[in-house]
């Protein structure tokens, strides 16, 4: 029965895609008014004015460009013309660096907050204030203090990944069942061993859920951060192509951002399933 459900869902998905592409194609196929003009003058005008072509690229234009990107994703022809693969790699590098730094801070601090009611109460006001700050608001401060745009972007990723992981870790650690802790107590298990053999496995699903939320936010934020810091990365690519008025490339970039985001989410979802235990 599930097989047939998946099959029917796939049929509906494909039908929706086809309908969307068809509507897109029809809407941009170019039936605008064409004005007769001097050929010399026409060369200065865009295809919209001379051939009645839509200013919005159609699915075929985007598809052709997509094919170009896929054929050579890693070319490098100078600072403003790099393959989309290279740009994505830059973005991924920043995201993973900032994210892993955040893991190193968030999980131990989350453990501390979860295990100690004192630290939980003491740190709560700071977390409550810092958490709702848009990570990009840190950017000027980061640029001013770090004096390096690449590192500033990493810092912004770090700060935005920190909170969901920290809060989830603290929650997961604080919610470890008392009976499991009592097992450890009756077995005279020390604090360190208890943290690694009882609390960590018990809280792991919650921690991983926080990590999954964080990687999603980090990938959202990197695009905006790179638009600001410039130079490299998929965010910069989007902005650069906007300045080039290449809507085809902007649409392609949007597609790539979505695909990479999905892959990151799926990796974390897979990891979460690995540490989840049935009860």
């Amino acid at each position: 029965m599930t097989g047939s459900l998946s099959f029917r869902a796939a049929v509906v998905s494909i039908a929706l895609l086809v309908a969307f592409l068809l509507a897109w194609h029809l809407a941009t196929r170019g039936i605008g008014p064409v004005q007769p003009m001097d050929p010399e003058y026409a060369k200065l005008m865009g295809a919209t004015a001379t051939q009645g072509k839509s200013a919005m690229p159609g699915p075929l234009d985007v598809g052709a460009k997509l094919w170009e990107h896929l054929k050579s994703p890693f070319y490098d022809k100078g600072p403003n013309d790099k393959g989309v693969g290279i740009q994505l790699a830059y973005s991924l590098g920043r995201v993973l660096t900032g994210y892993l730094l955040a893991v190193l801070f968030a999980i131990p601090i989350g453990f501390l907050i979860g295990m100690s009611p004192l630290m939980s109460k003491a740190l709560d006001p700071y977390i409550q204030i810092l958490k709702p700050i848009s990570p990009l608001a840190w950017m000027p401060l980061a640029l001013y203090t770090i004096k390096d745009s690449g590192l500033s972007a990493i810092f912004v990723i770090f700060i935005c990944s920190l909170w969901p992981m920290m809060i989830n870790t603290a929650f997961g650690v604080a919610a470890v069942r008392k009976e499991w802790l009592n097992v450890a107590r009756t077995l005279e298990v020390g604090t360190i061993r208890r943290a690694f053999t009882i609390i960590l496995p018990a809280a792991a699903p919650t921690i991983l859920t926080g990590m999954r939320i964080s990687i999603g936010i980090a990938w959202l934020v990197i695009v905006a951060a790179e638009m600001l810091v410039g130079g490299t990365g998929i965010g910069y690519f989007v902005w650069n192509e906007w300045n080039n008025l290449s809507i085809v490339n902007v649409i392609n970039a949007i597609l790539f951002i979505g695909l990479v985001g999905m892959v990151l989410d799926q990796v974390l979802a897979r990891l979460t399933r690995l540490v989840t235990f049935p009860e």
Binding site: R177, E179, W180, N182, V183, R185, T186, L187, E188, V189, T197, I198, P201, A202, A204, V275, F277, P278, E279
Partner: protein
């Protein structure tokens, strides 16, 4: 004294009442237990049985008084006192072997892995779970989970086993089998056991002494019933023993009536000297008349 392996000495437990003042759950409990003795405690919900067990385990502390085990006052939990939890409390991310060997490796930290597994396997075999070593708790039935809990408790070779209604969540058939297992294991290993139960038959089958606790708040130990049934009783026929109904009726009478009225009706109650009762057979002539249906001899503990 040598016959007091465990000695509960004047423990009370109270907590601040919402209206101010204090609510006393139980007070002035004195109870000696001998080495190798199986003690069951029976009482209605809310009389603080689980708190007493947790104090024995070192997971909880009394408001006053103390518990002496083997000549030493309890200070926190110890590997000498294993607990079998009502909810089995297995670690769901570990297999059966993982759960038992976790306990073994906690007791003998320097043992190599093979020796730990060997010890764990011995007790997994003992509770009849051979072949299920690699299953996770979620794949086990309630009875099997409780077996793992028993194997885990026994594997650290404790001096005392503390059981909090270990069989209450099981169906009657599984409960019976596990009672047999526990009785067999305790008799062969000479284990000292303190167990909470609500099941009178379970207490009569398993226990050497059955401690009756009055209703809370302000619960006290009313009586220690010495089980008059022979030590080699079988689950299949112990209820046919002539003394079975004497014990059973005595306990049920207590639970139905005296657990409520005991404190008010017993003016000269001395908590240090809980009366020990040995139920005797109902004599036909007495049972027919309106005299007491049960004769009990009382002796002091101290």
């Amino acid at each position: 004294m040598s016959d007091k392996f465990i000695s509960i000495e004047d423990i009370s437990r109270s907590y601040p009442a919402p209206s101010g003042g204090k609510t006393t759950i139980f007070k002035n409990l004195w109870l000696p237990m001998k080495r190798g003795e199986f003690t069951c405690i029976i009482g209605h919900s809310g009389c603080g049985k689980t708190t007493v067990l947790n104090i024995l385990a070192g997971l909880d502390v009394p408001s006053s008084g103390e518990v002496i085990v083997d000549g030493q006052a309890i200070e926190g939990p110890s590997l000498d006192r294993a607990v079998i939890f009502q909810s089995h409390a297995l670690l769901p991310w570990r297999s059966v072997m993982g759960n038992v060997s976790y306990a073994v490796s906690s007791k003998w930290r320097k043992w190599p892995g093979a020796q730990i597994r060997e010890q764990a396997q011995k007790f997994i075999d003992l509770v009849g779970l051979t072949g299920s070593e690699h299953k996770k708790p979620a794949e086990l039935s309630g009875g099997m989970k409780q077996r793992v809990g028993i194997a885990r408790a026994l594997s650290i070779e404790p001096k005392i086993m503390l059981m909090d209604e270990p069989f209450s969540a099981l169906d009657a058939l599984t409960r019976g089998t596990l009672q047999d297992e526990v009785r067999r294991i305790c008799q062969t290993t000479g284990q000292t056991v303190f167990m909470i139960t609500h099941d009178v038959d379970e207490a009569i089958y398993l226990a050497d002494k059955i401690v009756l606790m009055t209703n809370g708040p302000g619960a006290v130990l009313a009586e220690i019933v010495e089980n008059p049934l022979p030590r080699d009783r079988k689950r299949t026929d112990f209820h046919k023993h002539p003394l079975y109904y004497s014990v059973r009726n005595h306990i049920i009478d207590f639970l139905v009536e005296r657990s409520r009225t005991f404190v008010a009706n017993t003016k000269d109650f001395n908590p240090r000297n809980v009366p020990v009762v040995v139920p005797r057979a109902v004599e036909p002539s007495l049972a027919a008349s309106d005299g007491p249906r049960l004769r009990a001899t009382q002796t002091g503990t101290n």
